[in-house]
Symmetry: C2
Amino acid sequence: MKNSQLYKGSLNTIIMKLLEENGKMYGYEITQKVKAITQGELNITEGALYPALHKLEAEGILDVEIEKVDNRMRKYYKLTEAGTKETVNRLAELEDFIRNMQSLVNPRPNLEF
Amino acid sequence: MKNSQLYKGSLNTIIMKLLEENGKMYGYEITQKVKAITQGELNITEGALYPALHKLEAEGILDVEIEKVDNRMRKYYKLTEAGTKETVNRLAELEDFIRNMQSLVNPRPNLEF
DNA sequence: CAAATATACATAAGAATCTTATACATAACT
DNA sequence: AGTTATGTATAAGATTCTTATGTATATTTG
């Protein structure tokens, strides 16, 4: 997604969170939304996005619904019931992850002395 | 390191930050330190750690120095000069990453209306 | 109006990172 | 005597992503 490797592993969580918030979205829309929210810093590539969407669908996390708009295909994805539940876990994991990384990088000085 | 994929890509940054802070450390010490700081949540496996250390050394980020303590080998790693400079970049990237992830997951409601 | 850009999805080869398993060796504990 | 802790190492496979390519329509721009 970027030259920084840090984003590796975060794509599924990003997709699920956006869908939780926006109800249904299509692939291209997700890339644009992420770009906008991060002010251009995070650009999701198609080579990462589409396989990820297909896998989440295969796992029963997402449902797909095809629409034709302006003679062009759109595949709208939305969370299944199981996906909605799983999203809660993923977001909790993300919070833990961020908290742990901040502990590692920004350690509280030991105040015992 | 954990069942969460989120940590993928963060190991190098963690190693470099710990070395910046502690001067020199050996592999096993790094695993224990990380475990302690994250209260057991993040366990770095040897299969991830040692190849990462070797790679950082090959890239000129780390220097190694072998010591024998209690009849057992220890390989102490420390940042090279180039490694110290690179650590600044990595930590900035981590801050950007965390900020971006928080924007995505914890979006500010639009207050324009 | 032709060319470039934007919209929209897809996949395949290869790179990078990590998991899991295994290996070797010494020290300390039970 | 056997398990756990300390300490390093590697190899096979899984997962995730990059890079490149392909197809197709709509819109903008020179």
